[in-house]
């Protein structure tokens, strides 16, 4: 068995601790156990497990998470351990909790930076626009400027309809623009 920390040396130190009624085990090599201060009394297995950032081994009393199955594709955390791949997009929500540490350990950050599909931008933009209009509306009402308020109310209503249309017609399904484009010679 290899050390769970450095994944190079043979693990010679096997630690078990009950955390939240679950038995957690960590296997370390001598060097890593010393580096992590295992002999010291102040040593906490929990912090070590967290720093490992990977789904931890639970021997007895399998955690509830182990039994969680993705409602969308039927994938379980045990499957993930086996194949190292997820079942579907929904799995990222289903296993959000155990994935968090893993993502943190493998990436620069846990929040996406970069390209966003155009339709996502627009829905974000519309939401932002609605918020801005709502602010103006509140101000207009407070100032008893009812003509402007009526105008703003109409604009908000229109933006809401746009937003609803965006979220209810996904482009992956046979949408309006697809058959037209396939007719191209």
């Amino acid at each position: 068995m290899l050390c769970s920390l450095c994944k190079k040396n043979e693990a010679t130190v096997h630690l078990s601790q009950i955390i939240e009624h679950k038995m957690q085990t960590v296997n370390l090599c001598e060097a890593c156990s010393k580096a992590k201060g295992v002999d010291n009394s102040g040593f906490s297995l929990t912090s070590l497990l967290l720093s490992l950032g990977s789904p931890v081994e639970t021997t007895e009393a399998p955690s509830e998470l182990e039994n969680v199955v993705c409602p969308s594709c039927g994938f379980s955390q045990a499957d993930f351990k086996k194949v190292g791949r997820l079942g579907c997009a929904q799995c990222y929500e289903t296993f959000a909790e155990p994935l968090r540490g893993l993502l943190k350990s493998m990436h620069k950050d846990t929040h996406h930076v970069g390209k966003v599909p155009r339709q996502m931008i627009t829905s974000q933009e519309i939401t932002h626009r609605i918020q801005q209009l709502q602010k103006k509306l509140d101000q207009a009402v407070a100032a008893e400027n009812f003509e402007e308020a009526a105008l703003l109310r109409d604009q908000i209503k229109q933006a809401r309809t746009e937003l609803n249309q965006l979220t209810s017609t996904p482009p992956g399904e046979p949408a309006k623009n697809r058959p037209a484009s396939t007719k191209r010679p």
Binding site: S72, C73, F75, D79, V83, G84, R85, L86, G87, C88, A89, Y92, L99, L102, L103, M106, H107, K108, D109, T110, H111, H112, V113, G114, K115, V116, P117, R118, Q119, M120, Q124, P170, P171, G172, E173, N177, R178, S181, T182, R184
Partner: protein, 371 residues
């Protein structure tokens, strides 16, 4: 049209060149994308996978970039065709093993290749000769933007593009450059360099990507992290690192010429000798020796010989490319004989390398005792 008819000939594709082509063989940017409402290919059952494939294929087919392209299901490709695609670095070895429900789309000059239902629903990549990472990114970004209008991508504002493997989540981008680093290998600096590059969060791999050997002194440098850093930042970072690696390789070559000219001439001369006289030679040995001949060419030891000849020999001596020339199935031993015949034939016209390095500044670089 068959794949063989579609693919450009090795002679043509070996003439493609780009900036810093003496060290950077190619640049590549790959994006991973998935559909929101379909399980990932590895977990999907066959009917689900086929259903997703139909949606994806239809969307890919309509792309202007793939007009006059080659679009085929993997089940319709024979093992030799699949291997040829791997040898041309157009598909992964994993994808070559796929059948029903997976496919590929390739544009006419092989600069864009989309793998359908590999590990992710879409693995789209742009390839360029030499150091052209930014250009490759622009190409694939445009293609992706066109596709997102037709497909409902799995995307989360928090985690970005969702991928089968959490290592690709976020931008789903893999930026890479294929580098020829014989100078760093011969001067035994390459491991040190690899470690330094690794510390920057970049991966260094062998000739065929993950888990492969650095055959022919060819190394692939790529980003590892995909979440929390924008595509442009990754592209810029990798471009900078590659520029530094080019400098290190150039310096290593210069210092070898200066300090160990005999060692260098010996390696290059022997590689020429074996390649042009062998009667049986393995693919691995061929690649390693061709790498040294390429170095000799870069150092002007083979005047009048074009770089594209070595590039072409690199391609046509690989197993599937050799097998394609012969109708009956060859054993590895038979391939080694055929490979040697081919090399002897193609190198017949090439004169033996010069016995000293050309002198850039008029001072004798070689030791006086050398003839």
């Amino acid at each position: 049209m068959t794949l063989t008819e579609f693919l450009s000939s090795p002679a043509l594709s070996s003439r493609r060149s780009g900036p810093h082509g003496h060290i950077v063989l190619s640049s590549r940017v790959r994006l991973a994308r998935n559909l929101k409402r379909h399980p990932f290919p590895g977990w999907a059952k066959k009917p689900e996978r086929v259903k997703a494939f139909d949606i994806l294929q239809e969307a890919v087919q309509t792309l202007p970039q793939l007009k006059d392209g080659f679009i085929e299901s993997m089940e319709n490709l024979g093992p030799v065709d699949k291997q040829i695609l791997v040898e041309r670095h157009l598909i992964s070895r994993e994808h070559a093993a796929k059948g029903t429900g997976s496919g590929l789309a390739l544009n006419s000059d092989e600069s864009v290749c989309v793998m359908i239902n590999e590990e992710d629903h879409l693995r789209m990549q742009a390839l360029r000769a030499g150091l052209q990472i930014q250009e490759a990114w622009t190409t694939i970004d445009t293609l992706d933007t066109a596709l997102e209008k037709r497909l409902d991508y799995a995307f989360s504002p928090e985690l970005g593009y969702l991928t089968a493997c959490p290592t690709n989540v976020g931008t789903g981008i893999r930026v890479s450059a294929m580098l020829h680093l014989p100078g760093l290998v011969l001067s035994e600096q390459v491991n040190q360099i690899i470690q330094a590059v690794n510390k920057l969060g970049l991966a260094v791999r062998g000739f065929y990507g993950e888990g492969t050997e650095a055959l022919g002194n060819v190394f692939q440098v790529s980003n590892q992290m995909t979440l929390g850093e924008s595509e442009l930042d990754i592209v810029e970072r990798l471009t900078k690192v590659v520029a530094q690696l080019i400098e290190h390789e150039e310096n290593a070559r210069l210092s070898l010429v200066e300090k160990q000219p005999k060692m260098l001439l010996n390696h290059i001369g022997r590689s020429y000798g074996i390649l042009s006289n062998a009667h049986s030679i393995s693919s691995k040995e061929t690649m390693n020796l061709l790498s040294l001949m390429r170095l000799g060419l870069d150092m002007k030891l083979f005047p009048g010989v074009d770089q594209s000849l070595i590039n072409e020999l690199f391609i046509i001596t690989q197993p599937a490319h050799l097998q394609r020339q012969i109708s009956e199935k060859l054993t590895a031993e038979e391939r080694d004989l055929l490979r040697a015949d081919l090399l002897r034939d193609r190198l017949q016209q090439i004169c033996r390398p010069q016995c000293r390095f050309p002198d850039p500044d008029g001072t004798g670089l070689d030791k006086p005792s050398a003839s």
